[in-house]
């Protein structure tokens, strides 16, 4: 497995930088309000929400338990409709297949719809290395392509940018098209991107999209967008290539209906995204438009290794982004801090599985265990539990910090000796109470600089709970 080079070990330092980055804090403040409120009202309007979640989970669990059969069924239907299916075990294989298809098509310009799996396999770099012009067509992806940055959110890739920063980017990059005025209003910026990208859509040789679902019943690939960029990408060029993880397959069109009801509400608070499109093979002989070739690249890249163990839950993920929108860590530090393609709680679970726990640094620890991600996850993925599994593995592989290991050992030593434990804690509580008796708070404490560096520690009252209980002072 590979893909883009991970920088996840740098989490702590980057988190510090981003918390002090006023642009990021402004942008994330807006995002947090928007996403959380819109999802809450959309979910509240559906009394059947919990039944839908259970049904969505059941569909995915059923498919995963018979994944080989459903993949072969999907493949047979794509072929029946005149499409081609390619299989890739690794990121490199997937990139090579896509680049070879582009070369075979004699392509120079390639338009792309938003696809997280394309980011995961490092397709952008592979296309650039092959000398192909890649044009991102989702507005958010286009903005970060101009900024030469990776996405910072799985459905809102430019969520970390303010409008002012977008104005600057467009002003700098659109001059070459004769658009010299710096636009500052949202509608004008959207219109300018529409104008620039329209030409690219019409002249692209290959269009690459991801897939939200692969339907075994019909051999269809499904994309969900609001802008319509995915549809111009899969309709206008001569060749349409779909990149998709093997976990995207589900049995029937009716099953897509169930999960669609969960997806848009969780992602953007819409009942339905504007465009949900089912592509089945290439254009038919009598069609007036549509691609003459259609290829689906089925990508494993570590997914089969997640089946059959506790991480199979993660294969239910439909990439809605609700977990990150509700995560206090993500909304404070932004997506780039995570150092790889997938961010927020789902990223902290996936990244160690895809790039190795050694290179994932603090990701499993970047969690307060508040549980909101699991509460809002439409597919009921137990994200905090899975992060805990990563933490245990880090500890077992001695990857956690030496000081943390030492403290844990010390605590374990005491916890196994209740009498000693009580005496030490009693002593500690008295000492702290004495130290903080004047202000009721401690501004500094040895070994706890991480806490007292940014806030005071409230001083204990001087007596442990056990002692108070024994003395008959019961809490009211």
């Amino acid at each position: 497995m590979s893909g883009p080079a991970p920088r996840s070990r740098d989490f702590e330092r980057r988190a510090y930088v981003e918390i002090h980055n006023p642009n990021l804090q402004e942008a994330m403040g807006l995002a947090k309000q928007g996403f959380v409120g819109k999802r809450a009202s959309a979910v509240a309007a559906v009394p059947e929400w919990e039944q839908l979640r259970a049904a969505g989970r059941e569909i995915k669990e059923h498919t995963l338990a018979h994944l080989d059969w459903y993949l072969e069924r999907f493949e047979a239907k794509v072929r029946e409709n005149g499409g081609h299916v390619h299989w890739a075990s690794t990121a490199e294989e997937a990139c090579r297949i896509v680049v070879d298809l582009c070369r075979a098509a004699g392509a120079r310009r390639v338009t792309k719809g938003k696809s997280m799996v394309a980011e995961e396999i490092g397709l952008n770099e592979a296309l650039a290395d092959a000398g192909l012009e890649r044009v991102e067509t989702d507005l958010g992806e286009y903005i970060i392509q101009l900024a030469d940055e990776p996405p910072s959110h799985i459905i809102a890739p430019a969520v970390h940018k303010t409008k002012d920063q977008v104005s600057d980017l467009f002003h700098r990059h659109h001059r070459q098209y004769g658009l010299t005025e710096r636009q500052t209003e949202g509608p004008a910026l959207v219109a300018e991107a529409r104008e620039v990208l329209r030409e690219k859509f019409l002249t692209a040789d290959v269009g690459i999209t991801g897939a939200n679902f692969l339907v075994a019943e019909t051999g269809s690939t499904v994309i969900v967008t609001n802008e319509g960029n995915g549809d111009l990408t899969n309709t206008l060029p001569r060749v349409h290539i779909v990149t998709a993880g093997i976990e995207k397959v589900i049995p029937t069109l009716d099953d897509t209906a169930t999960i669609l009801r969960l997806l848009a509400r969780s992602a953007t608070g819409q009942e339905m995204s504007v465009y949900t499109t089912f592509s089945t093979g290439p254009r038919r002989a009598s069609d007036l438009d549509g691609p003459s070739e259609m290829h689906v690249v089925l990508i494993d890249n570590g997914r089969s290794q997640m089946l059959g163990n506790e991480f199979h839950h993660m294969l239910r993920c439909i990439r809605c982004g609700a977990c990150m929108n509700h995560c206090p860590v993500y909304t404070a530090v932004g997506g780039h801090t995570y150092g790889w393609v997938y961010v927020g709680p789902m990223g902290s679970v996936l990244t160690p599985l895809m790039i190795g726990i050694e290179d994932s640094g603090h990701l499993p620890n970047a969690c307060t265990m508040n549980g909101r991600c699991a509460e809002v996850c439409p597919m009921q993925i137990p994200l905090p539990d899975l992060l805990r599994v990563h933490r245990e593995r880090q500890h077992a592989s001695r990857l956690d910090a030496p000081r943390a290991r030492m403290m844990l050992r010390a605590w374990a030593f005491l916890a196994r000796r209740p009498a000693l434990y009580r005496r030490v804690v009693d002593l500690g509580a008295r000492a702290l109470a004495m130290l903080g008796r004047r202000r009721g708070r401690l501004r500094w404490l040895p070994l706890a600089g991480g806490w007292t560096g940014s806030r005071d520690l409230p001083a204990p009252q001087g007596e442990t709970f056990t002692r108070a209980w024994r003395a008959g002072r019961r809490p009211r």
Binding site: E227, D254, M272, Y275, L288
Partner: protein, 217 residues
């Protein structure tokens, strides 16, 4: 390439504690599940489906004009062009179901797929879904997909009798009326929009700035 296929399938089976494909008895059950799809949980959609469709489409800023019959289509379109300052050079899908429209001579009409410079398209629709105010459009020689995305204005003629309650009802209709899937099925719920700049919604991102449903009957 076929190596990867064999490897992935073997890895998947190994993870599922198998070495062989599923036994025929199990596979038959799965084939049945796929051949006779069942709806799962459906949110309640009460009341008149056409009214619900209109309310939902309007809620996502789709325009809806209800017409008693097809004779009003041309006038409704004239009103649209005037209100939104759209030229009357229009592209109409080469759909025989649209042949009967008595166009005003103000319109200059071409029947073809879309081009980049087209301003307004008129197409039919396969169905409407009341649950979410969604249009179902199928690709075909009579209904090229580009008409749904390239022009600034997309006007859709929908027969009110084709409005169904849930998404699954549209699939059931499709299965019973057609043997195979067309290249493209578009579920369209409102005009094109984006929230990618500071999470504010702006319409007309890449697809139509305006979606106007002429609901007949």
């Amino acid at each position: 390439m076929s190596d990867a296929r064999a490897r992935i399938l073997a890895d998947v089976r190994a993870a599922l504690r198998r070495t062989e494909p599923l036994p025929p008895s199990v596979a038959r059950g799965l084939e049945q599940r796929v051949a006779a799809p069942q709806a799962n949980v459906q949110p309640a959609v009460d009341g008149d489906v056409v009214e619900r469709f209109v309310a939902k489409m309007t809620a996502v800023n789709g325009l809806v004009t209800r017409l008693p019959d097809r004779s009003g289509i041309s006038a409704a379109l004239e009103a649209h062009c005037e209100r939104h300052h759209v030229p009357t050079d229009i592209v109409v899908a080469p759909d025989p179901a649209l042949d009967d429209i008595a166009w005003s001579n103000r319109f200059s009409i071409e029947r073809r797929a879309a081009r980049g410079e087209d301003r307004l398209s008129v197409t039919g629709a396969y169905a409407g879904i009341a649950e979410t105010g969604t249009l179902v459009l199928l690709s075909g020689p009579e209904s090229p997909t580009s008409l749904n995305f390239l022009p600034d204005d997309h006007v859709v003629v929908l027969d009110a009798r084709r409005v169904v309650r849930h998404i699954e009802d549209a699939w059931a209709t499709l299965r019973s009326e057609r043997r195979t899937m067309p290249r493209t099925v578009n579920l369209i719920t409102g005009p094109s929009k984006t929230g990618d700049i500071e999470q504010k919604i702006h319409e007309g991102a890449h697809g139509p700035r305006r979606l106007h449903v002429l609901l007949i009957g």
